[in-house]
Symmetry: C2
């Protein structure tokens, strides 16, 4: 038994907005770790008020609190409450990627004007400390590119499809049954959730504001087990990949399915885990991985931010103006064609690719009755050039089905 | 061209102790990133003095500097210089794991007395931000265990042996040729280098002081390609693994070769990369990986620490007293026996294992002329009990060679 003792610690009154899975886990964690936090920071955290759907008055909770933890989600009325807290000079710790990626400029302006601050480690990859590493460890380094598996639902579904041969529909049903996907999975499987997270990472890596609406994204709904099986022949793993990278004097932020070579650090991230790879000329690359969701994991990330506020870790820098975005990016592609099995087909496909500057790296052809299947991987090419070639190939009379194209991340890693 | 402008930033004068690979890379990086650091912190870093083997006066360099970067290595006279800086109230950024793990209490006391601080991200896994994550993100979380591949030389050698079937000697020669191993590789291949790093990680994770002398370690010199080939049949990868974990009310810190199941996050870390997995009930586990050495990478970690000092990130907490250490740890084992091929042998081995409480998980036997090879993997057992059984087995008359035992890290990971 721990001896009773007089604790002279000043309290830190936390106003908790939201008490779903994460809110409840956070309240529990605060109680469990209060002694340790008091020991290391000199202030003892307590939950001074809780706002739920049915109970609590937001204004009164904010007025009483020293710090606000926002885990209610959504953008309204959440935005209003967070603005009130920031205008009042309070630090806000939020797990709300939608709010931050849609209303960032307004929130950062309120934080600056009111003297508050916003921390949001839990908004991306839960307790995987990617926000801290970007805003602190690599503050001072030039970052060239971030690749991320930042949505656990889609990574679980793709891992299931790859390991069991299940269809997309069956893997999704499995994810729903195990609690890895919601009843309406649209936000996750469409890539929208990952897009919001990549917008936040891009802001930290490159300094400018990236609005969610500026992130282009594609989801995983169209992927087939056949794509995965074929790609395995080339040694590729299929992931829903977020990318934020410098392209000339602009940046590109996007989310789409992509094949990774087996040696890529993200290729071995399976199940509901998240992982982020940060590339910089000075550091080569570092990879951070771990559970990307879950009540206790997200709560732990939030408590880490609370401790940072208490111990005086400098506030995260607000974005410096708007980022200049571009869509003119390069990628290698996997291209899957169903064609009539007759002479000259490969030659015509190759000619069209060549005319658009697309160079083929590997090719595999297999018979299929009267038809043949042509699967190839290209070298890196401007995406718009590839799609021009692909569209023209789709119009050739011997092509039996719409061409299927999936991006491939080039081998470029040491290890 | 960037316009010329008046910069009003106050200078941060850095005294650089040592100008080997890392020191030179750091001086270059400071010049390259000075604008960015000045923008984000308001102070412009400059190298105000450099101590090399042949030039510079340590006392004068320290007296003039606002901050000391120590990359000279060794413990004497380095210790003396670092103490002088700390006693003078200067922040010291060091990459010197030997100094820190041998003379920690003295250094931390000087920092507290003089008002200085010590940061040492670069001392473990270079730019992989494990020090920061332990001291900040997870400050407030209870950590149960850290597993680390924290020596790039040995990981390169073991990866070579696994992928090419090369002998230890051939793989070491290859590592030396490529600059991944020194002419005298003892410090790395014996596990001593990894032991110093694990002592530092244990201190941060568990709060107490762990002296290098208290870390038990074994190296990789005795490992054979046969061990690796056999273990592959069981789906295992061989790594030099550092472990720091809670065992009851004590902690264990150790370094030894270990087999990992393929799904373990460290199993896929190949080549000269480093990686650390941190386990905590609240977070499940997170893994950080990247290049564990290299001039620019180490310099980048040092600059990250300099920026932290400048921007007021709280100092790393000094150790709270001495850690209580234990050697009574549990592990599963791979056991390789060469025995006479005759009836009753397996029964006798199994009986001896059973008498010591060792339970066998998998076993494979293969003929070898008059002899047979018996390879098994056990369930987790108190190490001393396993070694008692193993020693007795070694004395059985039908055993043809010294038994070979290598630890196996149990499957315990989600993903």
């Amino acid at each position: 038994m721990t001896c009773w003792r007089v604790m002279s610690d000043e309290l830190l009154k936390i106003g908790l907005l939201g008490r779903g899975t994460v809110g409840a886990a956070f309240a529990e964690l605060v109680e469990e770790r209060a002694d340790e936090v008091a020991r290391s920071t000199g202030r003892r955290p307590v939950i001074s008020g809780v706002l739920t759907r049915s109970e609590g008055d937001a204004g009164a909770i904010i007025a009483e609190a020293d710090l606000i933890v926002e885990v209610m989600g959504g953008t309204e009325p959440t935005r209003e409450y967070v603005l009130a807290a920031l205008n009042g000079g309070l630090p806000v710790v939020s797990a709300n990627k939608q709010l931050l990626s849609r209303h960032g400029p307004e929130l950062w302006a309120a934080a600056e004007a009111g003297g508050g601050q916003i921390r949001f480690e839990a908004a991306v990859a839960a307790v995987v400390p990617v926000i801290r590493v970007l805003s602190e460890s690599l503050n001072g380094a030039q970052i060239d590119r971030i690749h991320g598996i930042v949505n656990g639902t889609t990574n679980f579904i793709l891992s299931e499809m790859a390991s069991t041969g299940a269809s997309y529909e069956a893997a999704l049903a499995q994810a729903q049954q195990l609690g890895f996907a919601e009843a309406d999975p649209t936000e996750d499987v469409s890539g929208a959730d990952a897009a919001a997270k990549m917008a936040l990472l891009a802001q930290l890596a490159f300094g400018g504001w990236v609005a969610l609406d500026d992130v282009v994204f594609e989801g995983i709904e169209q992927l087939t087990t056949e794509d995965i099986a074929y790609a395995r022949e080339f040694g590729l793993a299929l992931k829903l990949l977020g990318t934020a990278e410098r392209v000339g004097d602009a940046i590109s932020v996007r989310v789409h399915p992509a094949f990774l070579y087996a040696a890529h650090p993200l290729a071995s991230i399976n199940g509901s885990f998240n992982a982020v790879t940060i590339e910089s000329p000075a550091i080569t690359e570092i990879t951070l991985s771990g559970p990307g969701a879950g009540g206790p994991q997200t709560a732990s990330a939030i408590l880490g931010d609370v401790v940072s506020v208490l111990s005086g870790v400098p506030a995260i820098e607000p974005p410096q103006g708007e980022a200049k975005l571009t869509g003119a990016v390069h990628s290698a592609f996997y291209l899957h064609l169903e064609v009539a099995d007759k002479p000259g087909v490969l030659a015509q496909v190759a000619r069209l690719l060549g005319e658009h500057g697309v160079s083929v790296k590997t090719v595999a052809q297999s018979g299929l009755g009267d038809n043949a299947r042509l699967v190839m991987v290209t070298h890196s090419i401007l995406e718009s050039d590839f799609y021009s070639a692909c569209d023209q190939i789709g119009e050739l009379e011997f092509v039996r089905a719409a061409p299927r194209a999936i991006r491939v991340i080039d081998e470029q890693f040491i290890g």
